[in-house]
């Protein structure tokens, strides 16, 4: 297996990085390109940019973000938010992103997963699953999608997804630890790589998530401080997590 990955997540709205707890109370915390480049320099294995305004406001700024990031950053990155078609996704990849992330659009029309995988290759198709209490939520976690989380994960795999980005909504922004029970269930249910998200508060939390998942998404634990990523990597290494030697 490839090395465990640390993936800083930048929530983007209106072209700026924003921060919110449990998907609400957004405030401006910086420029996505600057912050992404700084995380890359600090040893990020990949980056995720999620346009948190796109689905709600139906805007497609993902291409512009991808294009600007690709100019500066030479590590892989995923762009999500507002991607509703193969054409949307292709435009983001052509701009320089490596993967797209889809969420609400595939809950509305699951056949889109196969269409994306056939055109872009499975490795470029991340299905983001926001979950609470074993149920999937959609539209920035504002709606119950009336699906069981593990069953939906299996369906995503069958339909051709390449990776799952699983966020425990009730942990998101709380720094109380990843939902290890959920991640364990998903490890057993699918053979895709899983990116764990929601709840990272300490190196021990991240190390525990990387025992069951292939990557850990890092958001509020970093406080938009690339130096925090650097120190977190050191702490994880001392806990025995085999991270790559970046730079």
């Amino acid at each position: 297996m490839p090395l465990p990955r640390l993936i800083p997540c930048l929530d983007v709205a209106g072209g700026r990085v924003v921060k919110g707890v449990r998907f609400r109370e957004l405030r401006d915390v910086g420029d996505p390109v600057e912050l992404g480049a700084a995380y890359s320099d600090a040893g990020a294995d990949e980056l995720v940019f999620l346009d948190v305004s796109a689905t709600l406001e139906r805007r497609g700024s993902a291409v512009e973000v991808a294009s600007r990031v690709a100019e500066r950053v030479s590590i892989p990155f995923t762009v999500g938010g507002g991607i509703r078609s193969v054409a949307d996704a292709s435009a983001v990849l052509e701009a320089g992103a490596d993967k797209i992330s889809v969420n609400s659009a595939v809950l509305t029309r699951p056949a889109l997963i196969a269409e994306l995988a056939r055109t872009l290759g499975a490795q470029a198709v991340v299905v983001a699953i926001d979950t609470e209490g074993g149920r999937v939520h959609s539209h920035s976690a504002t709606r119950d999608a009336e699906r069981d989380t593990v069953a939906w994960a299996r369906e995503c795999e069958e339909r051709g997804a390449g990776e799952l980005l699983v966020t425990a909504i009730d942990r998101d922004g709380t720094q109380s630890g990843y939902d290890l029970e959920l991640l364990g269930a998903l490890r057993d249910a699918v053979s895709l790589p899983v990116i764990a998200s929601g709840g990272a508060g300490s190196a021990a939390h991240v190390a525990a998530a990387l025992e069951v998942s292939q990557a850990a998404l890092l958001a509020s634990i970093l406080h938009e401080q690339p130096a925090r990523l650097r120190s977190l990597r050191d702490e994880l290494r001392s806990l025995g997590v085999p991270l790559r030697d970046a730079a």
Binding site: M1, P2, L3, P4, R5, S40, D45, E46, A70, E71, S74, I75, P76, L93, E94, A95, G96, D98, K99, R118, T119, L120, G121, A122, Q123, A124, G162, E163, S191, L192, P193, Q214, A215, R244, D245, A246, A247
Partner: protein, 181 residues
């Protein structure tokens, strides 16, 4: 240098990576560009069949074969490596360019797609991979976790990893490719 532009994904990333190194790049959509360049790059992400169709549509398949026969350096990246083989078992079987003897087969161990950073032996450098298929060939010169990572045959050099997305290590690799060309 010419980067084959045939509708297969990561062209811009490859172009930007070479430009960071100061290389003069051209997007090649027709055979002449592929034949004339000091180095031709065959990038690629996505599915084998539509990629081969994209090459054929533009006559780039013939141009690449002609270039290889004349000993002109070609770098294949990820799907670009797999397309250079005789065939791929993807999409129910797809004929490749036949620049390198061998075939692309589906990964059967571990989590697939295989995504992430992994060391490449013998030199131990770590690069980023994202693939569901890999080469089976006698032309392998480096491996990663037992999977073919680098292929060399005549003037063709192919890598399964993505140097354009492998940070400093990837930049060093591309620099070596440029200096060889």
């Amino acid at each position: 240098m010419a980067i084959c532009a045939y509708g297969a994904g990561n062209v811009r990333s490859v172009e930007l990576a070479f430009r960071r190194l100061g290389a003069r790049t051209e997007l090649a959509e027709e055979p002449r560009s592929v034949l004339d360049a000091d180095l031709a790059v065959l990038p690629g992400v996505g599915a084998a069949r539509s990629a081969m169709d994209g090459l054929r549509l533009r006559g780039l398949d013939h141009a690449l074969r002609e270039r290889a026969a004349a000993g002109g350096p070609i770098l294949g990246v990820c799907l670009g490596l797999q397309l250079a083989l005789d065939e791929s078992e993807e999409d129910g079987g797809v004929a490749g360019l036949g620049l390198v003897a061998g075939r692309a087969v589906r990964l059967r161990e571990g989590r697939v797609p295989r995504i992430g950073w992994a060391p490449v032996e013998p030199n131990g450098e770590t690069y980023w991979f994202a693939h569901s298929y890999a080469a089976e060939t006698d032309a392998a010169v480096a491996t990663s976790e037992g999977i073919v990572a680098v292929v060399e045959s005549g003037s063709f050099l192919g890598v399964q990893f993505h140097p354009e997305k492998s940070g400093e290590a990837g930049a060093r690799f591309l620099e070596r490719c440029l200096s060889r060309a």
